[in-house]
Structures are given as structure tokens and as C-alpha cells.
């Protein structure tokens, strides 16, 4: 798959502060890449470096084959961006905000009008096109900012915490739009967020950063499998009485067991065979109605990584 963003040992210092340190990653075209990290970890600085708004102290980065240090103007022509602050002009109407950026993108007047109308309709804001943006809710503003970023039909979209402050409905609608953009239109999306479930749902690849360094990277599901130390399984059914639970607790691969009203939760050792455990349960006369494997969450992975980092420091 073609690469949209390539970063090699990228570093950026602000005086004594190291905002980005020897960062390397690649983002294939048409995928959603999530950048995850606490406040001040270097996420926004990385976006600025990729847009050619800052020069790196060391290393290099490319967006769409253009060098970020020398070809920033080229990059900005083919990318769209929504920073943490939506960047909308409060005194202008929604239509004026978009029309301005249509002129900036050098769209002809007719083309600009058509595209602005199309994007306002898609964002569900056509009815409020002539209202000043200061009257808009956070969700409406975020949709308008996304529409603005899409005006020039960019190949790469940079979104800095796009769903922060959105209600669940607005957030779900934004996610649907982003998935549509990546899957249907082939737009590469570089996303920073604090919302871990957002990354888990949306991103094909993620990178977790801390103090400007990448501490983990890869597919979110694979990362979870690698990082969750004690996977578990919950078995629902009828287990009868007797010494069966005690025998199960001693079964090879079972590290712990909790008995609920209609279920058993087993904590497994690494490499434990779930099918052997289920065979043993069935052989002991129990009736199984449902088996749910604990998948963990990105939040657990994130917290584990942050904890590891904290321990490494001291």
C-alpha cells in the first residue's frame, strides 16, 4: 500500500524542552492513524511539523512524497486540518466561513458555491447557513470545521482531538463521516485524541506517545492482545453443585476463578487453551449457554503503557 506519511527519527526541541524525540512511523494511504497521548506529549507539535509550520531539530518527515521542511506550501495545498480549536470566524456566517476557504482553495465562484452548498447539506447545516457561527453548538461547529477542511478535497486530513466536547450522538455522526471519508473517498486521516474508544473503533493503526517518544505502535486490536497480561473468559450456564468449581480452579492454564450467580469468570495464564477448559467444563456435566472472551480495552493498554513509562523514569 502506498505511503501517505513517512516520519524518520523526527525530533523537535523548544529550548530545553524536547517536544518530539526520534519519532518514526508510516501511515499508508486511505487509512485512519490514531495518535494517542497525554496533554503535552507532542501530538500537536507533530501535526505542525508535518504541515511544514515548524522545522524539525533533527530527522525528516514526508507527506504525500513532499519533504515537510522544504515543501510545506505543497503539503498545505493537498491537506486539510482541524486543530483542537475549530478555527472558525465567529463574526462570519457558516456560509461565509466556507466561502472564504473556497476562495483560498482557488475554487471558481460557481464551483465554490456548489461545493459550499454540498458540504453544508452533508453537515446538516444548510438551514443555518446564514447564521453567525457564534450561535452554533460545539457539535455544529465541529461539523462545520470538518466541512471546511474538506473543501479542497484533501488527500490527507489532520484532526486534532476532533470529538472533544461532543455529545455521544454528535460523536457517532463524526465517526461515521470519518470512516466514510477513509473507506469511500480514500482520504488518509491522521487523528489525535484522548478518546480511547474512538481510536479503538476508528483507527487502523495507532501510536501511543509520551514525552515526545512513541512507546507503542500498531493495530489497536493486536496491541491489546499483546499488552493485556491476564486474558479472561466468562462462561454462562448451569454448573450444578459439588466440587466442580474447585476442580476447575486447579485446571492447567487457569490462574483464578470467580463464581457469579449464572456465570464463572476465569482469569487465564498466557497460552492457556480455552477449548480444553470448555471441554473439561462440558465433561463435568455443566451446561454452557454463552462464552464471552475478555477483550480488554485500549484504555487498559494505554494505562499500562503510561504506568510502564512512569516506572522506567524512577
Amino acid at each position: 500500500m502506498e505511503t501517505a506519511i513517512r516520519v524518520e527519527k523526527l525530533s523537535r526541541q523548544f529550548g530545553p524542552l524536547r517536544a518530539v524525540a526520534e519519532m518514526s512511523f508510516e501511515v499508508p494511504r486511505g487509512t485512519i492513524f490514531g495518535f494517542l497521548g497525554p496533554n503535552g506529549a507532542g501530538k500537536s507539535t507533530t501535526i505542525r511539523l508535518l504541515l511544514g509550520l515548524l522545522l524539525p531539530s533533527a530527522g525528516r518527515a514526508e507527506v504525500l512524497g513532499c519533504d515537510c521542511s522544504r515543501e510545506g506550501e505543497n503539503i498545505r495545498q493537498h491537506t486539510g486540518v482541524v486543530f483542537h480549536n475549530d478555527g472558525l470566524y465567529d463574526r462570519l456566517t457558516a456560509e461565509q466561513n466556507l466561502a472564504f476557504y473556497a476562495r483560498v482553495a482557488h475554487l471558481t465562484e460557481g464551483e465554490g458555491k456548489r461545493r459550499v452548498g454540498e458540504l453544508l447539506t452533508r453537515a446538516g447545516l444548510a438551514g443555518r447557513a446564514r447564521e453567525p457561527v457564534r450561535r452554533f453548538s460545539r457539535g455544529m461547529r465541529q461539523k462545520l470545521a470538518l466541512a471546511r477542511a474538506l473543501l479542497s478535497s484533501p488527500s490527507v486530513l489532520f484532526l486534532d482531538e476532533p470529538s472533544s466536547g461532543l455529545d455521544p450522538a454528535a460523536s457517532a455522526s463524526l465517526h461515521a463521516d470519518l470512516l466514510d471519508l477513509a473507506e469511500e473517498k480514500g482520504v488518509t486521516i491522521f487523528l489525535t485524541t484522548h478518546n480511547l474508544s474512538e481510536e479503538q473503533k476508528l483507527c487502523h493503526q495507532i501510536a501511543v506517545i509520551r514525552d515526545g517518544r512513541i512507546v507503542a505502535a500498531g493495530n489497536p486490536n493486536k496491541l491489546m492482545e499483546e499488552m493485556i497480561q491476564s486474558p479472561g473468559v466468562r462462561i454462562f450456564g448451569h454448573f450444578g453443585d459439588g466440587d466442580f468449581p474447585a476442580l476447575l480452579a486447579d485446571f492447567p492454564g487457569v490462574a483464578g476463578m470467580e463464581k457469579g450467580e449464572d456465570n464463572l469468570h476465569l482469569t487465564l495464564e498466557a497460552g492457556a487453551s480455552i477449548s480444553d477448559i470448555l471441554k473439561f467444563v462440558l465433561a463435568s456435566g455443566a451446561e454452557i449457554t454463552e462464552v464471552i472472551r475478555d477483550r480488554g480495552s485500549l484504555e487498559e493498554v494505554y494505562l499500562a503503557l503510561m504506568e510502564e513509562e512512569e516506572n522506567d523514569r524512577f
Partner: protein, 251 residues
């Protein structure tokens, strides 16, 4: 040119977007840059009406002709640079494909043109008022040459205000910081000029004044204009050189 026009039009719309008519319309209007401009223009016309014959003879009121465009352009340019940074819109603007020169001249151009047009309207308004008040004597009280000089002086003073304010506010974190910078800067310059003059012995000051008055008005005006145009060009040049993405983000 397309980029400059796009930027200029955006700034123009921000200046002149009129609030929706309804309850509190006047208050809402006064809070806009257009409202502020209307107040300043009205102030000038009222002053001319109130002072009549003595308007042109009074150096203090004449100063209004320079002060009004300077104040208007200065406050708008401060809001346009530092205000955009404070509201977070500058980052998005700089992340667009617009070249820096187009952003810069769009930002300083719109308030200068607005102030020039407003002062032209104000001088025409003053002229009409003078006609009502003095009839055939109006031309003597409010000479047409003075009327014509107002838009030109507004342009020069407006550029001066824009240059100073852009320079101060480009890297200011907030409008408040930038306004303080412009105010203290203007105060500092005034003191630097006024204090040495005031500390001269009275006889030397009188001698200097007599020397100034003996110069031909044409030559004096030409020298002043050259100095002002040179200062305008220098300030704009420095401010433009400093308005570079890599500098603006490196903080």
C-alpha cells in the same frame, strides 16, 4: 492577487457584518467594528459643527483628523493579528495554502481602506454641515483643499497605525497584551520627542519655532510627507518580514 482578494474580503466581511435587526440591535451594532467607526465619524462631524470657524485654527481638534484613523486602524489590526491568535483562528489560517504576504496585506489593507472611506464620508458630512451653518462662507471655514487632504492623510496615518500595530501584535499572545504594547509604545515615543524639547531653554524653543514658521508651507509639507511615507514603508517592511509561519509557530 486571488489570495490577497480572498483575505481582504474576509477581513472586510468581519468588519462590516451587520447584526440582525431586533431588540438590542443598536447595542449589538455599536459592539462591531462598523459601530466603532460610525461613532468616530460622528464625533468628527459633531466637533466640526460645534467649533465652526475655530475648527481649522485649533491644533487640538485638528489632531482628531489624525487620531481617528490611527485609533480605528490600530484597534482593528491588533484584533486581527493578536485576536486571531487568541481565538485560535490564526493557526488554521496559517495551515492553509495562503502565502504570508497575502494574509498580511489583507489584514492591514481592509481597515486602512475602511478608515479612508469613512473619513471621506466624514469630511463630506462636515462640509454639508458647514454649508448649512455658514452658507456662502462655508468654503472659507472648511476649505475644499482641506476636504481633499483628509482621505490622503487618513491613508498615511492609517498605514502608520497598521504598521505599528502589526509589529506589536504579531507575536502577542492576546489582544490585551498587544493593546498595552501599542499604548505604551505610543506614550514612549511621545515622551522621547516631548521631553527633550521641553527641557530646552525657552529662548532656544522660541528660536526653533521662529525657524520652523519661516520655512515655506510647501517645503514643510513635503518634508513631513516624505518622513511619514518613509516611516510607513519601513514599519510595513519590518512587520511583513517578521510575519513568517516558522517564526509565528516557534514559541
Amino acid at each position: 492577487m486571488t489570495d490577497f482578494k480572498a483575505m481582504f474580503l474576509k477581513e472586510w466581511q468581519e468588519l462590516f457584518n451587520i447584526p440582525k435587526p431586533g431588540p438590542g440591535f443598536l447595542w449589538a451594532l455599536m459592539a462591531t467594528p462598523l459601530g466603532r467607526l460610525l461613532i468616530l465619524v460622528a464625533m468628527l462631524i459633531i466637533t466640526v459643527g460645534a467649533m465652526g470657524d475655530s475648527f481649522l485654527a485649533n491644533a487640538g481638534t485638528l489632531g482628531l483628523v489624525f487620531l481617528i484613523p490611527f485609533l480605528f486602524v490600530s484597534t482593528i489590526v491588533v484584533d486581527s493579528f493578536a485576536g486571531e491568535r487568541e481565538r485560535g483562528t490564526l493557526d488554521t489560517l496559517l495551515a492553509s495554502r495562503l502565502p504570508e504576504w497575502a494574509i498580511f496585506f489583507g489584514k492591514v489593507g481592509a481597515p486602512i481602506v475602511a478608515a479612508t472611506l469613512a473619513m471621506l464620508a466624514a469630511s463630506l458630512g462636515s462640509w454639508i454641515l458647514a454649508l448649512f451653518m455658514f452658507g456662502s462662507r462655508a468654503a472659507a471655514v472648511f476649505p475644499p483643499s482641506f476636504l481633499g487632504a483628509i482621505p490622503f492623510s487618513t491613508l498615511l496615518v492609517g498605514v502608520l497605525g497598521a504598521g505599528v500595530s502589526a509589529l506589536v501584535s504579531e507575536r502577542s499572545a492576546s489582544v490585551r497584551n498587544a493593546q498595552q504594547g501599542v499604548t505604551y509604545g505610543a506614550l514612549g515615543v511621545s515622551l522621547v520627542i516631548a521631553l527633550p524639547i521641553n527641557s530646552l531653554p525657552a529662548s532656544v524653543r522660541q528660536h526653533l519655532l521662529a525657524m520652523l514658521l519661516s520655512l515655506s508651507p510647501g517645503l514643510t509639507t513635503a518634508v513631513l510627507l516624505t518622513v511619514l511615507i518613509g516611516l510607513d514603508a519601513l514599519l510595513l517592511y519590518i512587520a511583513l518580514r517578521r510575519f513568517v509561519r516558522l517564526r509565528l509557530f516557534d514559541r
